[in-house]
């Protein structure tokens, strides 16, 4: 009797579960969009927008770009910042020299220019692998820093070789204040996350993963490895290029070639590792960690009013040491990154949720 009723129940519960699975992401996405485009611009102060939220989102976007290459296609790049700089300088020059183009078109074109450079510097991936490939992408890093420092044309003859946003406007809206810059960054990022989701779940995404997991096997089942690898470089650079433009104009306001140095490339790499490879949102957690932790440590020092008594230099150095220790501990305890930590946390909550409901059902 009970067994029979259970059996009869099963398909119904299955349907409910499926409905829940479809429903939940939609609800989450809606909440996310409302928070991103209504709540944050209304609530957040200039300080939050300009120094915490915007850099986190933009670095997360750069991380997402590199993650497509590293996490999904299994390729290496130590030149993420170079592609960011191409995006930034391309955006600047397009806005300056072709004033008819609206901002969104300029951003897409800048991304495409970065993508073209990505294909060029991805060519060695057809022949070499692993660390050697990493070393060859370093070439991009050094080449573009040199290029933008040595040819004044790229910075329109600026005395200090810096570029600054000529006009940040869309359909007559001035986007140069903090809220405007935030909305620009958030809208671009939301669209690019959508694009990344579509790519990863398409045939291209599955083929990347096949190449990443076993390239010989991938070749045997008919995947054109060379093309897919170059496409991975192109798409990754497209994302990084747009992230670079946002970094320069949405966040910094002005930038020069040195804003995109090797340190920045490493930062993007760490964001991917700390956030978790082959996840779309992991990069944003990684970026939040990299951007927030140093500020947080500084705030803790400020809150404890240690500054009055202790040596300021020692405190500043101590903060860096603690930051390093946290990274090491995190990578030992959670080698799959923050996104895996979060997933386990959420599934734990869900399990407790079902466990607490069990007696009632």
């Amino acid at each position: 009797m009970t067994v029979a009723s259970q059996i009869a129940d099963t398909p119904v519960r299955g349907v409910q579960r499926r409905a829940g699975l479809i429903g939940r992401p939609l609800v989450l996405i809606t909440i996310g969009l409302v928070v991103a485009f209504v709540a944050i611009p209304l609530v957040a102060t200039d300080y939050w927008l300009s120094s915490i939220i915007i850099p986190t989102i933009v670095m997360g976007l750069a991380g997402l770009g590199l993650n497509l290459l590293m996490g999904y296609a299994g390729l290496v790049s130590l030149g993420a910042a170079a592609f960011m700089s191409i995006g930034a300088f391309a955006t600047y020059n397009l806005l300056l020299r072709l004033p008819v183009l609206p901002l969104p078109v300029v951003l897409v074109l800048a991304g495409l220019i970065a993508a073209a450079a990505g294909i060029l510097f991805g060519l060695p991936s057809l022949r070499i692998k692993g660390f050697y490939l990493g070393a060859s992408t370093l070439g991009a890093q050094f080449f573009f820093e040199w290029l933008f420092t040595n040819f004044k044309w790229f910075s329109n003859g600026s005395q200090s070789l810096t570029i600054s946003a000529p006009r940040l406007a869309f359909l007559g809206w001035d986007l140069s204040a903090a809220t405007g810059r935030y909305l620009l960054v958030a809208a671009v990022t939301a669209l690019l996350i959508l694009l990344a989701y579509a790519i990863v779940h398409s045939r291209v995404g599955r083929e990347w993963m096949a190449i990443r997991d076993q390239d010989t096997a991938a070749a045997v089942i008919g995947i054109r490895i060379g093309r897919r690898k170059l496409l991975a470089y192109a798409i990754s650079s497209f994302f990084c290029g747009i992230a670079g433009a946002l970094w320069a104009f949405g966040y910094l306001g002005t930038a020069d070639a040195h804003a995109f140095d090797l340190d920045k490339s490493f930062q993007v790499l760490f964001i991917v590792l700390i956030g978790g490879t082959a996840t779309l949102f992991g990069s944003f957690f990684g970026a939040a960690f990299i951007v927030l932790t140093p500020i947080l440590l500084d705030r803790i020092v400020l809150a404890t009013s240690l500054t009055a008594s202790a040596d300021q230099g020692a405190l500043a150095n101590l903060q860096r040491i603690i930051f390093g220790v946290i990274i090491i501990l995190l990578l030992i305890k959670e080698p799959d990154g923050l996104s895996s930590l979060l997933r386990r946390g959420l599934s734990g909550v869900r399990r407790r949720d079902t466990a607490s409901r069990a007696p009632l059902g």
Binding site: Y47, L96, Q159, G348
Partner: protein
């Protein structure tokens, strides 16, 4: 469920800390009635060795003003440090943190202590209406306060420096008319900073007829054999060394190796500290440098600092031998510009903490003349500084030439003044081009 609790605790902790990060203690008013001085520091990172004495000079002078003189016209200065590590990202965070004051204390001006950060803050400061002051390290085009109402590149710029160097060389060869045929090589750090003197030297070489040789050194400049061979082959008579960091001592050493006379090398202001010359060892003896921040302890104000701050153990210096070095005195000079701006503002607005708008007025109405310099006890330490809406740098730009004697710097000349009219039009044209590119409306005295 241990697998649940650990991540949950971490997440909860992270959220709690995020909340702490954003909490602005602006509601507390413990420092009401005080003037905030947000001290942007870089006590960590590659440039920490130059910041440490600089920051100490800054803090010591402000401490002297607070404790010995009882504040600026009775208004106490409240120092809040913010570590940037010389990165632009952290600097922007510091700027956002302190631009609207802190704990009741008002912000009148922000000294970013980094040329890169100064540039990055240009647009933000324009929107927020916060004065950004960079003595000795600002953007030259921002001299035009009609285009840059909130940037103050006080005291010095590299175009004037090029003029002063050429002027000094002219004196050595027997007058400007003897410059014809003299070969002056500029060895520069290959960056925006280093390339800044290419244009003025080109103009000067056409004017005076000397031969202008420009040679770049890629960052960081640990290898300069090729460049110095080139200088020898070109038969250069003088070298203007626009270095930064390790590039300077390497240049002095390499010059000795190829046999270039060290007393014909003139360092830039950022190549002219004790830490630039000392690492080069004995071969640096006789090396020259341009100095806007003259080293030494033989100034009245330095003597007062020694007596009231250093000797009483209140100094921020850990190593007292740094007292009176180039960077320490630079810190003192910068703090003087801040305190004098406050005094200027007090005369107009009354003796209370200044707002950013009042700070802006004060900074473009600075008038530190010889009489005031004598009253400050800073004769020989600073040269007169007078600003206006049309000139945010100062009317007279001057520097001294100093010489390394193997252990310390000797002052070789008095203030050499740059002819500010020479480049004024070029700089103005650049500012106008900037205004056009950004679509800015020029400010006039009335608006």
């Amino acid at each position: 469920m241990p697998s649940l609790s650990v991540p949950t605790i971490i997440l909860a902790g992270a959220l709690g800390l995020v909340a702490l990060t954003g909490s602005q203690p602006a509601s507390a008013q413990e420092h009401k009635g005080e003037q905030l001085y947000p001290l942007f520091t870089y006590r960590t990172g590659p440039y920490a060795p130059s910041f440490i004495p600089f920051g100490a000079g800054n803090r010591d002078y402000l401490r002297y003003i607070n404790e010995v003189e009882g504040g600026v016209d009775g208004v106490k200065i409240f120092i809040q440090e913010c570590e940037t590590g010389y990165t632009i990202e952290r600097g922007i965070e510091c700027y956002e943190r302190y631009k609207n004051g802190y704990d009741g204390a008002l912000t009148a001006a922000i000294y970013p202590h980094s040329s890169g950060l100064d540039v990055a803050l240009t647009d933000k400061a324009r929107i927020d209406k916060i004065p950004i002051v960079s003595p000795g390290g600002g953007q030259n085009i921002a001299t035009d306060g009609r285009v840059f109402p909130y940037q103050y590149p006080l005291i010095f710029d590299y175009w004037s420096e090029a003029q002063i160097v050429v002027d000094y060389i002219a004196h050595q060869v027997g007058g400007t008319d003897k410059l014809k045929g003299v070969k002056i090589a500029t060895l520069y750090h290959d960056s925006g900073y280093g390339r800044d003197t290419i244009e003025p030297l080109d103009i000067l070489s056409k004017k005076f007829g000397f031969e202008d040789i420009q040679i770049p050194v890629p960052h960081p400049g640990e290898q300069q054999q090729a460049q110095w061979q080139q200088i020898r082959q070109a038969g250069a008579d003088w070298v203007f060394l626009r270095g930064w960091g390790v590039m300077t001592p390497v240049a002095i050493k390499t010059a000795a190796r190829v046999g270039f006379p060290v007393n014909h090398i003139i360092g830039d202001i950022w190549s002219g500290s004790e830490d630039d010359a000392r690492p080069a060892g004995g071969v640096a003896k006789g090396y020259l440098a341009v100095s806007v921040f003259p080293p030494g302890t033989d100034y009245d104000i330095l003597k007062k600092l020694k007596e009231t701050i250093i000797d009483t153990g209140k100094s921020d210096l850990k190593d007292d031998t740094k007292f009176g070095t180039v960077y320490y005195n630079y810190g003192v000079i910068e703090a003087i510009t801040f305190v004098e701006a406050l005094r200027t503002g007090h005369r107009k607005f009354g003796n209370h903490p200044l707002t950013a708008a009042e700070g802006q007025w004060a900074l473009e109405n600075l008038a530190i003349d010889d009489q005031r310099i004598a009253a400050l006890g800073a004769k020989g330490l600073i040269s007169p500084l007078q600003t206006s809406i049309a000139n945010h740098k100062g009317e007279t730009i001057a520097a001294k030439i100093i010489q390394w004697d193997g252990t310390r710097w000797d002052t070789l000349t008095d203030w050499i003044k740059a002819d500010t009219t020479l480049f004024a039009d070029v700089i103005r044209a650049k500012a106008a081009a900037y205004a056009q590119e950004k679509g800015l409306v020029l400010r006039t005295a009335s608006n």
